[in-house]
Symmetry: C2
Subunit: 190 residues, 2 copies
């Protein structure tokens, strides 16, 4: 329903509020899991519950927005790393970053799937960008001799999925040691 507007259009305010809610939601879901309530998000954002619902009519739309925002940030980071000085460092840094984000990402994705939202659909476009950025990082690292030449993007994606899934169940030290094993395997044989 359209509300009667008074004074100047609240466009900038609305955009600012949406972002505020989104950022609060990211922090709250990170810290307290995806079962955290919309009320908690409103409180963390310092807005009324009405403002949350105006931008995100359901918990699912909020979860989805957080999920897509996460993917977009990762894609942006990958894009930035694609022009880094050391392609090997850039590739492994990004791999580590994705795995570090995995626990939250998987929880969000599971919550969405449970709510009946098709995650692939919601995130397909952003995911595509991420995949392309990863392809660039990989081929640059291979050209620089930092990653062996005989692995392709599908293998790297598979390793990334596996590492992300496993990261959820392991403590940080174990995760990092397991990741180093994978990285040693990915390094070029000298």
């Amino acid at each position: 329903m359209t509300q009667p507007r008074t004074g100047r259009p609240p466009r900038a305010d609305a955009v600012r509020n949406r972002l505020k809610v989104l950022e609060a939601a990211e922090a709250v879901f990170d810290a307290r899991g995806t079962t955290a309530s919309t009320e908690e998000v409103a409180r963390a954002a310092g807005v009324g519950i009405g403002t949350v619902f105006r931008h995100f009519p359901t918990k699912e739309t909020l979860l989805e927005a957080v999920y897509v925002s996460r993917l977009r940030k990762l894609a942006e980071e990958a894009g930035a790393l694609a022009s880094a000085d050391d392609p090997g460092v850039a590739f492994f840094a990004f791999f580590t970053r994705v795995v570090g984000h995995a626990a939250t990402k998987n929880a969000l994705s599971a919550a969405l799937t449970e709510a009946g939202v098709d995650v692939r659909d919601a995130a397909a476009e952003t995911g595509q960008g991420l995949k392309q950025a990863l392809a660039t990082l990989l081929s640059r690292a291979q050209e620089a001799g930092a990653v062996r030449g005989d692995v392709g993007l599908p293998e790297v994606m598979t390793l990334l999925v596996g590492a992300s899934q496993a990261a959820e169940r392991a403590d940080v030290e174990v995760r990092d040691r397991a990741l180093n094993v994978v990285f040693d395997g990915l390094r070029a044989h000298r």
Copy 2:
């Protein structure tokens, strides 16, 4: 309820029938997924549906029995490999075997979780045996210099979980190439 027995006790028959149903269930769930019906299992086993229900009163008890049987077989294989001539070959063969089984095992585990059965409970004992067998395989492979000495059982378990999860989504060639990356990482640095 106890049925009146006539003639010799049907103990051996019952054991045989239970095994027949269990093996048929494994084959059917493998081929057609865990949504396959109990009727299909009965048909594959060549027994009446009543026989299936006598041994496995619900679909969940059947799924659970298949799951535990899978784990037990893997634990037996690990036990057998623990005295193999080449500890390196034995370790990597077992890792590959677990990952190869993963798709079915994960599907079974997911179906059970969805049905509200606590998989950890159901399989805890067998899982413990498997873990111990893996520890033996690992330390023998490390002593033989086939696996680097600086990885512990938690890392190997984490890599195994990751590889198993990833294997579900990748086609066989990609899975094998990704697995080889992990194996290269696990090999002793020479």
